[in-house]
């Protein structure tokens, strides 16, 4: 009973407060950082340093009329934002965000993340399809093609990690990194492939072709307004958070620091959570940083990069790692 209650509390805190909270702060950070990088100041009037801006935005979203255009396929149109947000929330459940604090300690671990995040593509493409608008449809089609292409590279780039650690459980991967070293050191190319594919998976620049403001107005969510649009928006940021958290857990030691032993008990858990949060924040910043630096890829460039470069490179990384491990085992 206490186990169930604890899990429920954990889920409530993470999915109900922390992730949407991060999403809200990210909206603020996105605007401020982008402004700073363009020598502007960004929103700085609402609250200290503009920190209450997300609340103002949210109020606006809530009070706006929830328009459902007459030409849409209504059930799918209403379903799509939820289909986009829910997988983003579920995918986070296997991430050990503090010592022993993953919502679900599954021994298939990261495989669940991949399978769940594949569902996210439905949210986007159904949203695009149900809107019955050419821009939305193009955005949805692009996004499904893009996500399917980069899912392969994303999955394959994680295989070297499993080969080295010998386990799919996220907790075990973090512990292995505590015992040996951060996996980014031996597997730097794999990490770069993981990072690039995760940018494509989350539809972020330089791969934001599903949205592509300049060509498709806003891509798959052109026809959405009010809180439905906000859900799409939030889903994007939660996807980013999950991608950053995975990057931290798989390649950057998770909630542990090298050469430092955290104390046992509650304080150790809190500290490990803070460490994880700090590392994840850096990667979230990197998302924004890259977005406001690089221009969008062309569609053919995107496909070429995904299929002809990243996918073979990740497979090559698998072969190299496996060969390296085999050699190590043979000559030890």
């Amino acid at each position: 009973m206490t186990f169930v209650l604890g899990k429920l509390l954990n889920i409530l805190i993470v999915a109900g407060a922390v992730l949407p909270g991060i999403g809200a702060v990210m909206v603020w950070a996105e605007r401020r950082v982008s402004a700073f990088m363009q020598d502007r100041l960004g929103p700085n009037r609402v609250g200290p340093a503009g920190l209450l801006q997300p609340i103002a935005d949210l109020l606006k979203f809530i009070f706006k009329e929830d328009v459902i255009p007459g030409h849409v396929n209504k059930p799918l149109y209403v379903l799509a934002p939820a289909l986009s947000l829910v997988p983003a929330l579920i995918a986070f459940c296997v991430v050990p965000y503090a010592r022993g604090m993953a919502i679900a300690e599954l021994n298939v671990g990261i495989l669940l993340v991949f399978s769940i995040s594949s569902i996210a593509v439905y949210g986007v493409s159904i949203g695009g399809w149900a809107s019955n608008s050419k821009y939305s449809l193009l955005g949805g089609v692009r996004s499904s093609a893009q996500m399917i292409s980069y899912e392969l590279a994303l999955g394959a780039s994680c295989v070297p990690v499993f080969l080295l650690v010998g386990d799919l459980n996220m907790e075990a991967i973090v512990q292995w990194q505590k015992a040996h070293c951060w996996l980014v050191l031996p597997l730097a190319p794999a990490w770069i492939i993981f990072l690039v594919s995760s940018y494509a998976e989350t539809n972020r620049l330089p791969f934001d072709l599903p949205e592509a403001e300049t060509e498709l107005v806003a891509g798959y969510h052109v026809e959405y307004s009010s809180m439905k649009f906000a859900l799409f928006f939030l889903a994007e940021y939660i996807h980013m958070t999950t991608a950053s958290a995975l990057s931290v857990a798989l390649f950057f030691g998770g909630y542990e620091l090298p050469f430092v032993t955290l104390p046992e008990g509650v304080w150790g858990t809190v500290l490990s959570g803070l460490i994880f949060f700090a590392k994840t924040s850096f990667f979230l910043f990197l998302f924004i940083w890259v977005r406001w630096t690089l221009p969008r890829f062309r569609y053919d460039q995107l496909m070429r990069l995904g299929w002809k470069i990243l996918f073979p490179a990740s497979l090559g990384m698998v072969v190299l790692t496996a060969g390296g491990i085999a050699l190590w085992e043979a000559f030890r």
Partner: protein, 179 residues
Amino acid sequence: MKTRVVKRPTLRFGERIYLSAVVKGLLLTIRHFFGVCRDLLNWKNKKTAITMQYPEERWDFKDNFRGAPALVMDQFGREKCVACQICEFVCPPKAITIWPAEFADQQNTIEKFPDRFEIDMLRCIYCGYCEEACPEEAIFLVKEAELVHTDKQAFIHDKKKLYEMGGIREDRILKWQHK
């Protein structure tokens, strides 16, 4: 026309994998990011940020800026306008209305003064003809350019408001002084 053949540069491996260019771009943007961060700490001496914090910071208009027209006094605090009504006549949108009055005593060189002087700022086009035409150098376009009111009546500047905006301006002729 002579055709110039531009040779396509052969890219090295480092350039072809695109990542070095990405890093270069990232360094450029982060430099601007920290530039604005530093400016926020020392706003008086900003170097990178170009945003003007509007209600607190304002434009520094030049002296010949054509803002709202206003009446001025000389250095002794006397009104310079003699109610000749040339500005009223020359005003293209007919924004100026003057009600002249005569001095009761007739002791001065000046015979008339404006009893009421109104400029309708909803009509004014900021052309500066009134300033150009004024033989007494009594009306000037000042730097005040942002007129925001919630009722239309407030846009009609009366004499008191016009002198308030114009203030005192050095007079070289001082007509009042001469007989």
